[in-house]
Amino acid sequence: MALRLDWALSVVVWLGALLLAAGLARRLALWRQGQPAPVAWSGLLAMPRRYFVDIHHVVAREPAIARAHVMTAGGAVAILLALGVNYGLMRYWPVLDVVTLACAVAMFAGAWQVRARRRAPPARLSRGSWNRLPYSLLLFAAGIALIMALFLLGPFALSRMFGRALAALAGIGLLLGGAELVLGIGIAGPMKHALAGLAHLAFHPRPERFGGRSTGLRPLDLRRPGLGVARAADFAWNRLLSFDACVQCGKCEAVCPAYAAGQPLNPKALIQGMVAAFAPGGPEYAGNPHPGQPQSSAGAVHADIVGSVLAAETLWSCTTCRACVEACPMLIEHVDTVIDLRRHIALNRGDVPGKGSEALANLRYTDTVGGHALAARHHWAVDLDIRVLGEGMNADWLLLVGEGGFDMRYQRALRALVTVMRRAGLDVALLGAAETDCGDLARRLGDEAGFQRLAATLIATLNRYRFAHIVTPDPHLFHCLKNEYPAFGGNFDVHHHSQLLAELIDRGALSLTAPASGGGSVTFHDPCYLGRYNGGFDAPRRVLRGIGVTVVEMPRSREDSRCCGWGGGAAFTDIPGARRIPDMRMDDIRASGAGRVVVACPNCSAMLEAVVGPRPEVIELAEWVAERLAVDVP
């Protein structure tokens, strides 16, 4: 009797393995609908490190559920391995039964905590089959534990009626729970995340992000037909795989500024929309939809994504702030997805909403976002007697001012920056009318052709002149030059002004003799393209510390900072929502109790200063440094 039960379990294990293989084959077939992509098989070797280091970074922000996950998933993996060895290979070693029992107990405890959370789940979590999952896991763990206990007790236990009844119950639990584990992967149950997640780690589309930072957009080959992603099948296969890794935890939803503003974008629903597009017929999505939009799971792999699984407004709501990417425990790249879809619209249909089309036309005709004369970019500098770099001239520091040069508010910051750099004895020059737009806006709005033209233009200009370093106060320009121009042959030593100012202060190059003005508390607003995109969290804080300013941090600061609403051209596409993102950010600032907020980006300064009504004062980093120099900023 006992022996036959052993065999039965072996049969179950083999059956499970077969079903798992079949499910995996099905998923593989779905992923392979995508385009070929070069992947490094060495990713498989890197997987454990990526799992235990990179993912741990993210999930450790929520320790309770992380512990529960370790117990549940660790227990389950250990159980499956032990069963595979002990029963798959028909070894039947009691010692492994003991191990399996211990793992099942741990898994049960973990799943119990998961269940507890599911009883009053945060709004960001999906419901549906995800609410069933803890119970399936509990059944599985309980079933395994019971069976192992019975095996360990031996024939004595099973010879009793009670024991046999228990064994039958345990078997049913094991089968039901095990079905969730093995079938879920193939037919898109919640457990699909386990294998897809691991495979995603191995074949991640941005392997550079492990142990580093990879935030620059990938160049689009403009000679290949299609241009961007219209249908699910236009994605590379490992991008489709990445969507399958989603656990619908909604951490992206919780941090998305557009979602919070009631604009029609929910990053979780976006990713699930992609799943629906390449694997139609899966379980109904049971999470929050894109605000104001019906959630449709009726996708088809060869149908246009826009218009079937999501509306174009969803794409144009994104500020490309990367808060979602930063929050995602499965390391999914939402922003790349948005940009790929935008590229198709912008390059094939030119249907960029709001002022986006106008901005792109301006860039096409004037090389400026606002449609200005190029020389007007430096009108603010004519009375500063600052050199304009010409052929044959040499400068140590080239200051690129970006579109902020046209903004009268921001010109104050630029004048302050020039004043500070000069007081530090730096040899600084401008590019004059030769400075053209870096292409950030064009690229984020999907106009990759416009971006590549602008990048080539600016790179050619910069290559004509002799200078040692570039400094810019515009994080978007900084990001383009630093992270995206190398792909087009532009390699420059580029610094954000916060980094330069921090260095100047650290080495005592500035004599900060004037008293600081203001008083009252001060907070710092991290620009997305300096912070999350480039890890520039410390330099601006060092500057503020250096000039004697104590910063009261907002809860949403550094990696968790909330976008001002400008990025990704969102200020241009201007998709309506229930609130405005900068208003929400100003509320964050108010809640900190600060009377002043320091910014380090021309766009943040424009967005926050445009908040109407009484509000904390917005001051640019360089302005405050200049204030401490005891010199009039002309």
């Binding site: 007007a376 009108h379 004519v382 009375d383 009268m408 508010r409 104050r412 009039d632 002309p634």
Partner: protein, 686 residues
């Protein structure tokens, strides 16, 4: 981008201006004896440079020759080498702030007064007398022409040596050059008269000599008139011909155009258009000149608002805008525009207090900005006090009280402002009720907005009493309670209702009668204003005054505007009489007037007698509070006049002690400027 045209640099010859806004040449009346710019002069201009202005052209009508006296207006004397060092300091100061500085040079010819300085014999093309300055002159001879042309060249060399950015030659307002141009003043039959080329000869000789003196690269401008508005004067068409010739000569780098001649009181009043005229009344003349000019054109006349300036530039009417009075009212105009603080600009209202003082040979002061030209002692930007935060109670929200509250708040104090009325403004709010004087309200509007912006605790509609004030536990009480009409003379019968005061009429508390006598004992703006108010509502108005003429004390650019209305409205001016008494008889009111010089009595039977006789201080609160205050209500005038803090401010007060001060009309009757200055100089050190 906001104001893309206003902030677009422009290059004149080699001179690049950071924006299109210019403080054009005007007589400042600040030069030190001998016609040298001193500290006051330089700081007055420096403030504009700090404030973001592109170009200042200083030294309105700075003479190049000794027979063009400068003493009347204390202008800069370009006829001496001693001017070089002070001009060099001025230029250096302006450049430090990124602004450019030029100076105007001229020979005024007959537009001057001979009785002073060297007692010169003034020169003019044909020796025609100039009426405004009583400028008797002789006909200029060829030798004198050559001397003066050489003087222009010497002056230009001095300007260039000082490091100034350029020189502007004046041929506007009937200076010697345009006296040659104008058929009103040039009846010569030699090569300097007759045909237009002959009449332009002197000007071309001057410009040629100046250009030779300074070389190719130095900015030389020419200021000219766009239409003299005289039947026998220069018409716009002729001036277009002149402008085409001058700009086509290659000798100048820009033209600056003003509308109106200036050799009569009435035309001169147009030159600095007062508030009665519409905005930018003569920009069409500048645009007409621009249409024939081959060099950029500048224009200044009632351009006071940044949006207006941007519109004028954007529509291509001119290339540069002069905003001269705008900068007298607020030298920080441009940085406020640049930084999006337009609402904080103290906007010129065209009250012409500045130019009306200059007309009398007094230094230019701004009616609404007491810091202007007092930069050495009075701050344009009030910095917070480093001392204790005080509780300051201000009573009265007229100009003095509003300014006291504003400045005290900027010093960082807690400020409570009581005002009996439900609105702010005091007497200025009434002054704005007179026809074509509406813009006076702009003075109050700025103070109103600033006190709100700064968070002054304003209690409008609250008549403060002693206990109201003491309940606030003040450290300092500033009384700015103004005054009551000075109509208590019993024979006038105001108490009996036989006569009313001007204030009641302007406030709408009195119905206009059909036949009205306005008696003006002051000859300021109020008396004529109330007469005009009544005439505009259909009253037949006689305005009587003991002064030598109606509205005698309003200044040279204001009385012509009043007189235009006086005659157009059919008002009857009766100067040189005193109001003896008023009584009622047969349903009519009889006013008895006594002639100052004959002592003869005259009677008027009218429906209404309106009296404007200034004010007596409203000082009840002062007398009630005086004994309780630590300083017994006394202001240390030595400290006040020296712009030092009041000594009592450094004494420590016990909790129920307070300091008491008075500012403005509640001490004795002053004007708007006096009220603001009282408040600023006292409160800046709180």
């Amino acid at each position: 981008m906001r104001y893309p045209h206003l902030f677009a640099p422009i290059t004149l010859n080699r001179l690049t201006l950071r924006n299109r806004v210019v403080s054009t040449a005007h007589a400042e009346v600040y030069a030190e004896p001998g016609g040298l710019p001193g500290e006051r002069y330089i700081r007055y201009y420096e403030e504009k440079a700090k404030g973001g202005l592109g170009l200042a052209i200083c030294g309105g009508s700075s003479p190049v020759s000794a027979d063009s006296p400068q003493g009347w207006w204390k202008s800069v004397n370009l006829a001496t080498d001693r001017v070089i060092d002070p001009l060099a300091l001025l230029a250096e100061t302006m450049h430090k702030h990124g602004a450019r500085i030029m100076i105007q040079a001229t020979h005024m010819g007959r537009r001057n007064s001979y009785y002073g300085e060297h007692w010169p014999h003034l020169v003019s093309p044909s020796g025609i007398r100039e009426p405004v300055h009583r400028g008797n002159a002789k006909a200029i001879e060829r030798e004198e022409i050559r001397r003066i042309v050489a003087d222009f060249a010497s002056a230009a060399r001095r300007v260039q040596r000082a490091g100034m950015d350029g020189i502007e030659i004046s041929a506007a307002h009937q200076q010697l050059i345009d006296q040659f141009w104008s058929p009103r003043t040039n009846f010569r039959s030699d090569e300097y008269g007759g045909s237009l080329p002959n009449r332009m000869r002197f000007g071309i000789e001057v410009l040629t000599a100046v250009r030779e003196a300074v070389g190719e690269d130095f900015c030389v401008g020419l200021r000219m008139c766009g239409d003299e508005f005289h039947e026998d004067g220069l018409s716009h068409q002729v001036l277009q011909e002149i402008a085409a010739a001058m700009s086509g000569s290659g000798l100048i780098d820009y033209l600056s155009v003003v509308g109106s001649g200036a050799d009569t009181h009435n035309t001169l009043a147009n030159c600095m258009p007062p508030m009665a005229l519409p905005p930018e009344p003569f920009v069409h003349l500048a645009a007409g000149i621009k249409s024939v000019s081959s060099v950029p054109v500048m224009h200044a006349q009632s351009i006071r608002d940044p949006v207006q300036a941007e519109r004028i530039l954007a529509s291509g009417l001119v290339d540069m805008v002069g905003m001269t009075r705008a900068h007298i009212a607020d030298p920080h105009f441009m940085i406020k525009v640049r930084d999006g603080r337009e609402d904080q600009i103290r906007q010129c209202v065209g009250a012409n207090y500045c130019i009306d003082r200059q007309y009398h040979g007094q230094d230019v002061l701004c009616i609404q900005n007491a810091a202007t030209s007092r930069e050495s002692t009075m701050p344009h930007v009030i910095v917070p006090s480093t001392g204790p935060v005080r509780r300051v109670v201000v009573v009265g929200a007229g100009p003095a009280g509003l300014e006291a509250a504003r400045v005290a708040r900027l010093r960082g104090h807690e400020v409570v402002l009581f005002e009996r009325d439900d609105h702010v403004g005091g007497q200025v709010a009434l002054a704005a009720k007179a026809p074509q004087r509406e813009q006076m309200a702009g003075i109050v509007r700025w103070l109103d907005m600033e006190t709100i912006r700064l968070g002054v605790d304003r209690r409008l509609g609250v008549a403060a009493r002693v206990d109201t004030i003491l309940d606030e536990q003040p450290d300092i009480v500033v009384l700015a309670t103004g005054g009551q009409p000075n109509v208590g003379y019993p024979a006038w019968g105001v108490a009996e209702g036989l006569a009313v005061c001007a204030r009641d009429v302007l406030a709408g508390r009195v119905e206009p009668g059909a036949n009205v006598l306005v008696y003006d004992g002051i000859s300021g703006h109020a008396g004529f204003g109330v007469a005009d108010y009544l005439a505009s509502r259909g009253s037949l108005v006689e305005i009587a005054t003991p002064d030598v003429k109606i509205a005698d004390d309003v200044g040279g650019t204001t009385f012509p505007v009043f007189y235009r209305r006086l005659y157009a409205q059919g008002m009857i001016p009766t100067p040189n009489v005193w109001l003896e008494r008023v009584y009622a008889e047969n349903g009519k009111i009889i006013a008895v007037l006594r002639n100052e010089y004959t002592e003869q009595l005259e009677e008027r039977a009218v429906d209404l007698v309106v009296i404007e006789n200034g004010i007596v201080p409203a000082d009840e609160l002062y007398w009630q509070l005086k004994a309780r205050s630590r300083n017994l209500g006394q202001t240390d005038i030595d400290a006040l006049y020296a712009a030092r803090p009041q000594p009592c401010l450094s004494e420590s007060l016990s909790t129920d002690e307070f300091l008491l001060f008075r500012v403005g009309d509640c001490v004795s009757m002053h004007n708007v400027h006096g009220a603001l200055y009282d408040a600023l100089r006292l409160v800046k050190d709180f």
